[in-house]
């Protein structure tokens, strides 16, 4: 402590401990905010069409086309430690082999609280295929709206904002329109 360098060293050493405990406190403070917003999700229509697969062993692969309506107010999830939200719509179903799938068909990144009110009626953003190449004998699917809260400091948290009341049946495959 007798010279300038020793005093700088002393100050910065204590500062690093203080900053670390501040970060830990900020990460823990996220537990204080327990908002659980609920929204509504309805499926307008599900259609299945045949399509070409890139894989030569499977020349035909069925594609599902889903139209949905989503409305949810996720702004309560924004607090001082929220960086952004990842909101995604998934289809949960068991395929003919009994494997439970959770396919993400639409998503959105919400960066600001002002954009956190979601009102979307749209169709699937990502190609919705079945691993077994056919939606025949696939169980009806539940559709869910889920979100990830990405914090500035701390752990990623998950949540579910909406879920269809009834499972939605995959219709029989149609010829291409």
């Amino acid at each position: 402590m007798h010279s300038i360098y020793q005093r700088i060293n002393n100050l910065s050493a204590l500062l690093s401990s203080c900053v670390l405990s501040l970060l830990a406190a900020i990460a823990l403070s996220s537990l204080l905010f327990t908002a659980d917003p609920m929204g509504t999700l309805s499926i307008g229509s599900v259609k299945v069409y045949p399509g070409k697969a890139r894989n030569f062993n499977e020349p035909r692969r069925e594609h599902a086309f889903v139209r949905f309506n989503v409305s949810a107010d996720l702004s309560p999830l924004f607090h001082w430690n929220t960086k952004q939200l990842f909101v995604y719509l998934g289809a949960e179903y068991a395929n003919s082999a009994g494997v439970i799938n959770d396919v993400v068909i639409w998503d959105r990144i919400v960066r600001r609280k002002e954009d956190a009110v979601i009102n979307v009626s749209g169709k699937n953003k990502y190609i919705f295929k079945e691993v077994s190449s056919s939606f025949k004998a696939v169980e009806p699917a539940f559709y869910t709206l889920k979100y990830n809260v990405m914090p500035y400091v701390g752990a990623l948290t998950y949540g579910e904002a909406a879920r269809t009341d009834e499972p939605v049946v995959f219709p029989v495959v149609q010829d291409r329109v």
Partner: protein, 88 residues
């Protein structure tokens, strides 16, 4: 000129001053951190937390790092030099 600059950069302070600096740092820095945390929590703003922490730390550094006169008020009093030649 060069020697005075060197003395300033070295910034020696006396033992009482060292004690004072240590006490100020030990109390102020955790206080600043806690204030910054609760201020940010109350206003829901991480920016406020970290700007408060940064500015207050700079102010504290300005207070404890340079060789201020208040840290040099108790210079060490040495005993007078004994006349060694007498014994011979």
């Amino acid at each position: 000129m060069q020697s005075s600059l060197q003395t300033y950069l070295e910034g020696r302070i006396d033992f009482e001053g060292q004690n004072k600096v240590e006490k100020i740092t030990r109390i102020a820095l955790p206080g600043i951190t806690a204030t910054a945390f609760f201020a940010g929590l109350a206003t829901q703003s991480l920016r406020l937390t970290f700007s408060l922490l940064g500015l207050a730390t700079l102010a504290l550094a300005l207070m404890v790092v340079p060789q201020w006169p208040m840290y040099n008020e108790h210079p060490v009093k040495w005993l007078p030099v004994k006349d060694a030649k007498k014994k011979e």
